[in-house]
Amino acid sequence: METYYKPEDLPKFEEIGKDAPELAKKFFDYYGDVFAEGELTEREKSLIALAVAHAVQCPYCIDAYTQTCLEKGSNIAEMTEAIHVAVAIRGGASLVHGVQMRNVAEKLSM
């Protein structure tokens, strides 16, 4: 069945630079630097990336960072907890807007 998301497209990511090479170079250089060992370890950064991948619901990123997390030494329990962090923030972000709802409702209500 045809689908917009194809696993074989992931390795083609670099082709995005074909018609805008300078911007692509800046992006990929930056990307590489972001994930290099720094104050956070590469393992910790890959767990953050996995959580964000779920928050933005990117199948390519989920595929790539599941493998990366395993190869950086994280286990499935740690990866699952990381996803729950993303879920909590996403859920919390919706719920906290309830305060706006309450403000508006209070203004309109007698």
Partner: protein, 330 residues
């Protein structure tokens, strides 16, 4: 790709199973690299395929019920070879070498012949309640224990090695710590080996060792000397699982794309010769699993006057990409 060397027919794998990955020998030659022997200082002894576990990553498909077990006559041949070869290290493996009835004799008689004796253990065979004599022997002869411990996660470890094995391993490590293994100044060394619990490469060793040291100490009070992270070799039961799960080609590509020319210098086959339970020689335990004899020629340990000559040919195949992926495999 075609395996040109003489192979043990019983272990032969279809020659074109790794389509999509260039032959290892071609990858070497394209980079101007050669894989020949240096001085061989390690004799690895595979005493057989009998094991109490049926680990899913096992490159030898070892397990219960295997009849391949080194008999006393071959043990004597191996001891004679160790005398002739003047190896620095004797590395004993299996299967579960603890289950071989001749293991005590082998350890006792090679002890004066080499400066280091290693025993590769799955921990559960060593701590099955019937091996206290062997544990005391290992301690007496200061045998270095190299113990399988794939993951700090119980579910993942048990998934690879069998239900309940994680907790059994923890108990065994505590027992070995209690008699001095892994303790400062005891002279008793225990090293852990962690293999990925699936079709992915191992993490960097330094960071992983730090985490294992911290978690094992904090949760279970366990200490050890070193942690080694090894990639799984696409042979035996692991190869079967890769194919069945649809991971084989992607895993081979992963190994190939991680080829590190600098790792070629440090691969163990340059300095090791492996002897199987029936006395035949191989360049490493993986070639043994694949049935590719040492240098591509079938030679029995009783025929060898000494270690293989420096600069002699090492037989290769597609599984060799495992030892050159990333930082390599020793």
């Amino acid at each position: 790709m075609f395996i040109e060397q003489t192979v043990n027919e019983g272990m032969k794998i279809s020659s074109n199973e790794s389509d999509g990955v260039p032959p290892f020998s071609l990858t070497l030659s394209q980079r101007g690299l050669k894989l020949n022997r240096e001085k061989t200082n390690t004799l690895q002894v595979n005493v057989g395929l009998l094991c109490n576990q049926t680990c899913r990553h096992c490159h030898l498909s070892a397990g219960p019920g295997h009849k391949e077990n080194m008999e006393a006559e071959i043990v004597n041949e191996v001891i004679s070879y160790a005398q002739r070869g003047q190896f620095e290290t004797i590395d004993i493996t299996g299967g579960a070498p603890e289950l071989n009835p001749n293991i005590g004799k082998l350890i006792e008689e090679v002890f004066p012949l080499a400066s280091k004796i290693m025993l590769r253990s799955n921990l559960s065979a060593l701590n099955d309640g019937k091996r206290d004599h062997l544990i005391n022997l290992l301690k007496s002869f200061r045998v270095v224990i190299v113990a399988s411990f794939p993951s700090l996660n119980e579910l993942q470890a048990d998934s690879q090695r069998g239900s309940g094995i994680f907790q059994i391993s923890i108990d065994a490590l505590r027992k070995l710590n209690d008699i001095g293994y892994g303790r400062d100044e005891s002279g008793l060394e225990i090293n852990l080996v962690s293999n990925p619990t699936g079709a992915f490469l191992p993490p960097p060793q330094v960071g992983m060792e730090k985490r294992f040291r911290s978690v094992l100490k904090e949760k279970w009070g366990i200490v050890f000397n070193n942690l080694y992270n090894f990639a799984n070799v696409p042979l035996g039961r692991f190869r079967h699982w890769l194919k069945k799960s649809g991971n084989f080609h992607k895993y081979m590509e992963r190994l190939y794309s991680s080829f590190n020319p600098c790792a070629v210098d440090g691969v163990m086959c340059r300095t090791l010769v492996s002897v199987s339970w029936d006395g035949y020689l191989y360049d490493c335990d993986f070639n043994l699993a694949r049935g590719i004899f040492m240098g591509g020629r079938k030679i029995h340990v009783s025929e060898m006057p000494g270690p293989p000559e420096p600069d002699s040919h090492i037989a290769t195949s597609d599984h060799c990409y495992t030892c050159t992926a990333g930082v390599g495999f020793t």
